[in-house]
């Protein structure tokens, strides 16, 4: 399966990474090299094998649905590039 420039553009968009138009061909080439390498997986007979979720057979633990933490607004916002009036600030989302 070969990735063309259009697919590379689509993947970059899905990943929310801006890629300049003139870099898309090279990117598609890199994807093809890596995906070519993983093509070997098609040689393996995986019939009847379940996809592994966790290396240790386990059920995820549950806890009581109660508040365990909180009241740390200043700490939560302390690393934000733009925080105002106790909120994360972002560009306009709704037109």
């Amino acid at each position: 399966m070969s990735i063309d420039k259009e697919t590379a553009r689509k993947v970059a968009k899905l990943a929310r990474i801006k890629v300049e138009e003139d870099a898309l061909d090279a990117l598609a080439g890199e994807f093809n090299a890596i995906l070519g390498f993983v093509e070997q997986l098609n040689e393996v007979d995986v019939g009847g094998v379940e996809p592994m979720t966790s290396v240790t057979p386990m059920r995820l633990k549950r806890r009581e649905d109660v508040v365990t933490d909180g009241d740390q607004q200043d700490k939560v916002l302390s690393n934000a590039p733009d925080a105002r009036e106790g909120f994360f600030a972002v560009p306009k989302v709704v037109e």
Binding site: P51, T56, K75
Partner: protein, 494 residues
């Protein structure tokens, strides 16, 4: 006393307890060594004030007779660990300026045990790399050179700063993390011991996530005994990591008895790769002889799906990374791109991530996005997870046949020059060919320095253990270390 920074943890612990040295003296020796080693670029955020404060507190605890084994021991901490109030960037520009308000569980346990932090250590960006060339802080340089040849060599990666710092005696030991070989490969490249514990042995809470089903923290140390001592302080159940195991911790150091008579060591035929250098082949043969000499029984085994481990890894790890790294959006922490008039939130995400991530990280995030996208999920991601199940079963089958541990080379070569493999991602990925199976199967693995190549560079062997049997694994590794008698140190040129 001079050269305190060259001590092992075990030696320093005994001298501290005997009152022969203080943690303040030990810490000053490491800080001085670190100051003088800026060329190596191993330490990227220096914390001398914190270190001196922790050392004083450790000395007070030791004087009061309350001294756990790690008390007063100066460590380097990989930049992947969140450390409260100290820059923690995973070597990425996208986390520029990030100072966590919390402490990772592993570093918190180490500090509770009295350990001292001299600084944060360089690494590949988000732990993605095998040569420490993808860091926003620049390359780390291996303290080892090829004889008189001054070519800069890679310390390996992703824990390259940890490897370089420990090999150059900037600290007594360091934390590392290992997703596909990131503790064991760099340890082998610089002639130190690196242990990746069983998945779930150490809490992942507060460690910047790369591939959550594979990531595991572990110690990088100057000896096998030190790895046991340090693992003891790092490991244990943590309610904040739902995958951390609730098993009680054995005494890892006590497991090192020096007696491995009757142990069965498997030699997997699939690890004999085409084009493997003769020196690696010879080293592996010597390792077999050493373990046989110690009384172990060697058996040939087969792990038939070995060949498919790297391709499976390069689907699963990027898939998990694309999901984990979605959080870097310029909203809550780190870098946000300067926006143009009219840019909306999507433009903010796209510009921020384009500026903040390096090329290898972008490549893996996008590959991960692709293999998880509609129409390809089954063909790539689910197939890789099925192959992963088969790889794990290979190991279960040989352990069921009575194998206690498996001996393999740690790396396909000695340390190589910086820049040599950087332009070919797939060639770079092959560095992890012997280590990546262990992450896919969740097993403990340890790299032990066992020899040098023709140019005087260190080479290591890997031992792979049964799940939760780090004690047994450390004991076998200790026998290998003991017989290999590796004592070489890089001549100081930096």
């Amino acid at each position: 006393m001079s050269d305190l920074n060259t001590l092992t943890i075990a030696e320093a612990r005994d001298k501290l307890r005997a009152g022969e040295i203080t943690s303040v003296e030990l810490t000053e020796a490491c800080l001085a060594a670190t100051e003088a080693a800026s060329t190596l670029n191993a330490v990227v955020h220096h914390t001398p004030d914190l270190a001196r404060e922790q050392a004083k507190a450790a000395d007070a605890r030791i004087a009061a007779g309350d001294a756990p084994a790690m008390c007063g021991i100066p460590l380097g901490i990989k930049d992947l660990f969140c450390t409260k109030g100290v820059a923690s960037q995973a070597a990425s520009a996208i986390l520029n300026g990030f100072k966590p308000e919390y402490e990772s569980t592993v570093t918190s346990q180490l500090f509770d045990a009295g350990a001292v932090m001299i600084g944060k250590l360089n690494m590949d960006e988000f732990a993605m790399g095998s040569s420490n060339e993808t860091s926003t802080y620049g390359n780390v340089i291996n303290p080892w050179r090829r004889g008189n040849d001054a070519t800069d060599l890679t310390p390996g990666g992703s824990s390259g700063g940890s490897a370089s710092a420990v090999a150059a005696d900037l600290c007594l030991a360091a934390t590392g993390t290992d997703t596909g070989g990131s503790i064991r490969q760099p340890a082998a490249f610089v002639g130190i011991t690196g242990l990746k514990p069983t998945y779930g042995r150490c809490s992942r809470w507060g460690i910047v996530a790369f591939a959550s089903s594979l990531d595991q923290a572990g110690p990088m140390t100057k000896s096998v005994r030190d790895a046991a001592i340090m693992l003891q302080a790092m490991a244990g159940h943590d309610p904040k990591d739902s995958t951390s195991a609730e098993f009680p911790l054995p005494d890892f150091e006590a497991a090192i008895t020096g007696d491995i008579r009757g142990k069965t060591i498997g030699i997997p035929k699939e690890y004999r790769m085409d084009g493997m250098p003769d020196e690696i082949e010879a080293l592996w043969a010597q390792g077999r002889e050493m373990l046989a000499d110690a009384g172990a029984k060697l058996v040939d085994i087969s792990l038939p799906h070995t060949k498919y481990a790297l391709p499976a890894y390069y689907v699963i790890a990027p898939a998990e990374a694309s999901s984990n790294l979605a959080r870097y959006d310029g909203v809550r922490y780190g870098h946000r791109a300067k926006l143009s008039q009219g840019d909306g939130i999507t433009a903010m995400y796209e510009k921020t991530r384009a500026e903040g991530f390096g090329d290898e990280v972008k490549r893996r995030v996008m590959i991960g996005t692709y293999v998880l996208s509609a129409g390809f999920y089954d063909a790539y991601y689910n197939r890789a997870r099925r192959v992963r199940a088969l790889i794990k079963k290979d190991f279960e089958d040989v352990f069921e046949q009575g194998v206690d541990a498996i001996l393999t080379p740690a790396t396909p070569s000695a340390a190589f020059p910086l820049g040599q493999e950087f332009d070919d991602p797939v060639q770079m990925y092959l560095n992890d060919v012997f280590t990546v199976t262990v992450n896919l199967a969740g097993l403990p693995g340890i790299a032990v320095p066992t020899g040098v190549d023709g140019q005087g560079l260190p080479l290591g062997l890997q031992l792979i253990g049964k799940p939760w049997e780090e004690g047994d694994l450390l004991n076998i590794a200790h026998s290998l270390e003991d017989r290999a008698g590796f004592v070489a140190k890089p001549p100081k040129w930096w």
